[in-house]
Symmetry: C3
Subunit: 463 residues, 3 copies
């Protein structure tokens, strides 16, 4: 057995018993996945996934960054290639290094998928690498392992992708036009057209003009173009925007200054400070638009992208070299909050890669401002210890009801059930500790468990 | 039952047994409350508290900031009004939202008071809101619920208020002149006359002159005026000062430069940097006076006050919108420590809202400098998880004996027993873990439990 | 009994059972001590240690900083004197204050040595201070307590000292030339000749020239001199360098600029910024040399040395007044990593005094870059809670295999067995929790326990 039925529950017997009983009540609730990075194309085309290397290794930063850290070459993993030429060899390298993942959530997610989806019973190793490869590859080509079948089997009620404003959303349209009845919705992620340092920013503005018929060389036209794209997203079910800026900085410039700044930015003449100021201003503009059109705002700040220069030059973006940085929220969010902080019809969900802000900044802010909610632990912190620290650090100041349930935030579609199961087990373990220490009654804990798994997600994301 | 007899003790049976046995030995020790924000007026006048809304909701930032965060209007809570016109309605709103406090210390403090003081047995809810309101209101008007009777019933040995240098301390005098034998003492909090950014700073300096007969337009006269007020406070039992600056920065300017800076400051001509430098200098001046007159110094830095501009403009200060900021101590305290750090007759108690400084800065500093002690977890961190993190982060470097026991730091008089009880339970739980893991002997744990609850408070605050 | 056989194991019975069974498998593994501050001279001369005051109190910052924090005078402890004139009196002062160490690792290390090495059974106190003093002093003069005998008895397989490039390493030579078969090796710590703010920096450069025959007034000659000393260290078994800069900043200047900067620095004309830049550049230069000669690089940044000015002026360096500071790695290491980050033949071991960087910066960096490894918890954090936090914060992102096992990092030779025993117990306790919660299989935990204790140390330090 790869995964024990009691895994992730506390060892202390009375606490474990409470955790298990809470978990039993939420175990089979449908999955709501309001933020993640799966591809609508998979479900539009419904073609089989080809093999475990291209499914589990190549797209998963968590996996190949660890292999890289121990000297495995990204060339040998064929990172950056559109199709793997030697997937079995990639899989063998991975299997040989599987011990590296001991103690990591990746290991638990993978084992969960291996056991629950593919029926594997022995731990992956160099010896059984081919057996795993062949067995999984064979299954992936069965009808019940096609993307749509898996989606249904996973009991997913809603799945949000994350999309560029320049994306035609053709795959989303195809899904909606099909006879398959699933709720897969886009998320508006405007970084390519609001971040002057984004690759091809100038070209992106031109494409934005083409797509909307607005004159994106003027501040007014540019904002209208963004409004227009947001409307297009909303028509396809979009409920939220997402913003991945280097910092959480916001600004609230007078309209004239904002227009001047846009002039510099759109002319490609902004320096680093001006680009940062423009991103800051755009967060406030986006909040204003959210107040108009009801889209929930997600802010994911603080990742220093492409830290490894050599890898970036050779393989491009997304090579597992994005590194967290210390992030300030208290001063950074103030201009936006000065303007919109007390709006009850606005929801801004804050994320962080800097755990020191949980108790110092985020819980105090979310425990006061009506528009703020705290997103779940993000990225490196989306792990048993990370999720436990999150609850331990934010609950006493912000409570449970200023949080929004779980995000799987994954590119790895097959990890979704395992990730949600892990989150449910950890939430129940945290609640069980409170109950066992008589800090919370068991009936309340059960209600909270359901809220964190389902109700708060629907409410926060307006699903 | 709202509060279980074993609440807050660890679930693991052998550890719980140790925790309970430690707790039994300190449970009934008298309460020392050397720092807080209750009002001497309550005890001077000894009038009944009017109703639960004005007692539990309106004065308690912890309570109404959470309600605000979930969209309750401060108008509906009548925040900022001197007397509530519709206390029953405020109470109903609170009761309706009581579930928001699940998992927070506020919930435990409230339940403690509801059960232990008012005999309530069912959890507060929308349904029983009126029952609660009527029952508590009725009791509050009985003689045994008058402020002095409650003080005695709470087994308080000492209670310190926090007072402006401009306060006449008339209520304190009244208490001392009465036949009621209680030790309620003032604390000298000079922010209104040492912080150039404090509202009405210039007026405050004039009042300071009037009260002392000193010429507060000169540096020399200003310092003498402060000395004079400190003496007046000491005559009424004051044992400590308290300083709530935005940062922990200190300075040690040559006397001529300090006098010049005071010139700018008192003329209302200091910019932000100069104001910060003046506050910094004043911490060092205050340390010097403490060395003269024996008052213990408390430094509470790092709160960014009135973060919510709209609320500040509408309701003024203290609307639950004070937010912690990252705080540096190592460089900031150096000028003061360069001058007074090795004085054995000086006690400076440091507090923080930035938990990342516990193990990195505060414990190493307090584990070295003779004049430094660490205050207990403050404000948002004054909670079961927060108190446990504090001990876990500071003990191994600073030990127990560089800490000073518990502060309730509350405006909510009726929460005092519950707050001290919580602290005692958490301290015993921490100690029990050390004993259960054979990191400490049980006889030593018992001595420490007594020291943290009683002896170290008396020693640190020179009571 | 001072130390319980189960000390430091979790109280929960099933977890404790697993921890003990893991511990039994690694308990008797030999000690590898790849980084520390013992003196080769002790083993070269093999003279008896004189008494417990000079052995346990005077050289141990952990001990005398705590005494100092509670008002004990460093004069009374005869700190700064080469030989104690009144060791018994020092010991009595220490014994009288022994209660201060409750809850600290120092207490556990001391008790371990008292019981396991000297057979003491009663807790040290004022009453038995003389008994302790006499009994330990007597034993220290027995043959089996001479340094070499203790080294053998401690089952040490390797012990690294930390040495100035200007050190003749004569003691190391003497040990190698003796008939005693022990592996005691130097570590190359170039701070005295690469940090322009190091005392006597200019003189040190002259001595460097004398020792190597290189012209250290030129950039080229200076670098060659360093290469030459590194070679001399390697001949005596050195496997690693160590760098104790105020920050982790690195630089990668063009050769011409680096040479110009060295010109200013060697002329004593560099300001604080230039000195910092020079140290930064030297980290990158050292990495380049490590790639040539195979020495592993250790970086110990973030200690603000000699924080207590008065003590520094009176007693000099190392009075227990070095205080941690917030430390940045993500931006600071980038220049070095840009150049060497993907080198698989380079090993850089990172340490920190800023625990907030564990999950935010260090684990993400080490979980990606092939050249990076994470050193164990350092200094104040080398404690049961500190070691547990380290594993909890880094494992899920960096795994176990980007860490390098334990360093005792001690000046207190007799604490080595106790320190390694503590680390082994804490590692087993962490692993036992993972096993008890079914996050790791027991056979894997056992393999990891062995790796952390032995194999990873050998691999990381190339022993």
């Amino acid at each position: 057995m790869l995964i024990h039925p009691d895994h992730l529950f506390p060892a202390e017997p009375s606490t474990r018993k409470i955790a298990k009983s809470l978990y039993e009540e939420i175990r089979t609730l449908p999955i709501l996945s309001p933020h993640g990075h799966t591809q609508a194309r998979w479900f539009a085309l419904n073609q089989p996934f080809s093999d475990p290397a291209q499914l589990f290794v190549q797209p998963d930063h968590y996996v190949f960054r660890m292999l890289c850290s121990q000297g495995v070459s990204l060339d040998d993993l064929e990172i950056g290639q559109s199709t793997a030429t030697n997937p079995r060899e990639i899989w063998r390298i991975f299997a040989h290094h599987y011990y590296l993942f001991r103690g990591t959530p990746t290991r638990l997610w993978l084992d969960y998928a291996f056991q629950e989806l593919f029926g594997m019973q022995d731990r992956l190793s160099e010896e059984n690498a081919d057996l795993y490869f062949d067995s999984i590859t064979e299954k992936l080509h069965r009808p019940e392992f096609l993307p749509r079948a898996l989606y249904d089997r996973f009991n997913i009620e809603l799945l949000a992708t994350t999309d560029s404003p320049l994306d035609s959303l053709g795959d989303h349209k195809k899904i909606r036009e099909s006879d398959w009845n699933a709720r897969i919705i886009p998320t508006f992620r405007p970084d390519p057209v609001v971040d002057p340092e984004f690759p091809e920013f100038a070209t992106n503005l031109i494409m934005l003009a083409e797509q909307t018929g607005e004159d994106t060389s003027t501040w007014h036209g540019y904002l209208n173009a963004l409004r227009s794209i947001r409307a297009r997203f909303r028509e396809l079910g979009c409920r939220a925007t997402d913003h991945g800026h280097p910092t959480a900085r916001t600004a609230n410039l007078p309209a004239v200054e904002a227009a001047q700044l846009f002039g510099r930015v759109s002319a490609g003449k902004s320096d680093a400070q001006q680009s940062e100021l423009f991103r800051a201003q755009m967060l406030t503009e986006m909040a204003g638009m959210s107040l108009e059109d009801g889209l929930v705002m997600q802010i994911h700040p603080g990742s220093l992208r492409n830290h490894n220069r050599q890898l970036f030059e050779r393989y491009g973006r997304d090579t597992g070299a994005d590194i967290p940085t210390a992030t300030n929220y208290v001063e950074a969010l103030r201009p936006l909050l000065d303007r919109f902080g007390n709006e009850r019809n606005l929801t801004i969900i804050l994320f962080t890669l800097d755990e020191s802000t949980y108790s110092r900044e985020l819980a105090p802010l979310a425990g006061h401002y009506p528009c703020l909610r705290l997103g779940p632990p993000w990225w490196f912190h989306d792990s048993p210890e990370g999720m436990m620290r999150y609850r331990e650090h934010v609950t006493e100041t912000a409570g449970f009801y200023n949080t929004v349930g779980f995000n799987d935030d994954t590119r790895a579609f097959l990890s979704i059930p395992g990730r949600h199961d892990m989150a449910r087990r950890v939430e129940c373990s945290f609640l069980a500790k409170l109950v066992a220490e008589h800090r919370l009654d068991e009936d309340e804990a059960l209600e909270i468990a359901r809220d964190l798994t389902y109700n708060l997600v629907k409410k926060a994301y307006r699903l």
